[in-house]
């Protein structure tokens, strides 16, 4: 990354978590793993921690973080692992170009030798047909 941008990034402080559920994140995760419903979690948080939240809040909290986890899974690999060195020897390149030129182009459509229009009736020769 550009050094200017890097220093800009470092200058921006980490924002504190906005959700009041963030401090109970691990508890919620474990409760979900044990099969608790969102309604169960609401009740447990109320009884154990004295925290009152709506069922939909718990649902959104879990959903948003689940999304984040998925994004991490599909994170792009570092740039350096994407490409491998290509031999730049002029002989190799010439032969590769020649091979590419010689490679036949795949025919996508077969040339038709015979065409018959199924919707048209047979025309007898001499009745508006051939000759």
């Amino acid at each position: 990354m550009d050094p200017t941008l890097l220093s800009l990034l470092e200058a921006i402080p980490q924002k504190p978590p906005r959700s009041k559920l963030e401090t109970h994140r691990e508890l919620i995760r474990q409760l979900r793993r044990k099969g608790c419903t969102y309604r169960d979690i609401v009740r447990i948080l109320h009884e154990s921690v004295g925290l009152d939240v709506a069922v939909s809040t718990i649902h959104s909290f879990v959903k948003v973080r689940a999304k984040h986890r998925k994004q991490v899974q599909y994170e792009l690999p570092p740039l350096e692992s994407e490409s491998k060195p290509i031999s730049a020897s002029s002989d190799d390149v010439t032969s590769r170009i020649a091979a590419l030129r010689a490679k036949p182009i795949e025919q996508k459509t077969r040339p038709k030798h015979f065409h018959f229009e199924e919707s048209e009736p047979l025309k007898l020769v001499g009745q508006g047909g051939l000759r």
Partner: protein
């Protein structure tokens, strides 16, 4: 995976118009191979054809009945080629054109790369619809197969003017060069009981059947001479029937 299928041929009827004599032709062709002691596999792909008059009716246990109206389509050809048979005779049912066309589009390139060859047999009668049906199939299959067109005389005075003189039929003959053979008109006294009881011409000619009306001397001789002339037509077209 490419397996060698050189010296293998699939002969199939172009199942367009129903009732033109496709199964009768295939039965006679199977007999021709039998007489020459050339092994073949019979596939009955006509799921609409009732038991009586179907390929299975004439050959019973030696026929494999296959439903081609599945996503696999005609893949059964590949499986039977793999089993070692050099010739497959397949009787396609009426209305199987789209299935065959789709299968050829998807599979032909790879199957033909193994060396297997295809012969499409179209049976025509004086009815112009039978000619249209063959032309419609040819329009789909193009030069991926070799063609045999069988003129099936359904009466003693059959007139094939639509095949002979229709502009489209002429174009087909000029561009795809089908081999044309003739099936003579068969007397009802021979044809009807033979179909009814699933008796082949050879079985009539050699009196190898239990149907009294097919044992009459005149019927036996009719069967013999009819078979001899039809076999000579097959001999003429042998290049497109043999692997």
């Amino acid at each position: 995976m490419k397996t060698g299928n050189t010296n293998k041929r699939i002969v199939f009827t172009m199942g367009g118009k129903g009732g033109v004599g496709k199964t009768g032709l295939m039965v006679a062709l199977a007999e021709w191979f039998e007489v020459h002691e050339i092994p073949f596999t019979l596939l009955d792909l006509d799921t609409e054809n009732k038991a009586r008059g179907s390929l299975k009716h004439f050959f019973n246990g030696s026929v494999t009945k296959v439903n081609i109206h599945t996503p696999a389509g005609l893949d059964t050809f590949i499986d039977h080629l793999e089993s070692g048979t050099s010739i497959i005779l397949a009787d396609m049912g009426a209305g199987s054109g789209q299935v065959a066309s789709d299968w050829f589009d998807a599979m032909y390139e790879d199957v033909s790369a193994t060396g297997a060859r295809f012969t499409a047999v179209g049976v025509i009668t004086p009815d112009p619809a039978s000619v249209e049906s063959v032309l419609a199939w040819a329009n789909r299959l193009q030069d991926r197969v070799q063609y045999v067109v069988v003129q099936n005389a359904t009466s003693s005075q059959s007139n094939f003017s639509y095949w002979d003189s229709a502009e489209q039929a002429i174009r087909f003959r000029e561009s795809l060069s089908p081999t044309v053979i003739r099936m003579e008109f068969r007397l009802a006294e021979l044809e009807n009981p033979a179909r009814q009881h699933g008796v082949r011409l050879g079985q009539v000619a050699m009196r190898q059947n239990s149907v009294d009306e097919l044992k009459r001397a005149s019927i036996v001789m009719r069967a013999e001479s009819y078979r001899r002339r039809l076999f000579s037509e097959f001999d003429r077209a042998k290049d497109v029937f043999l692997p």
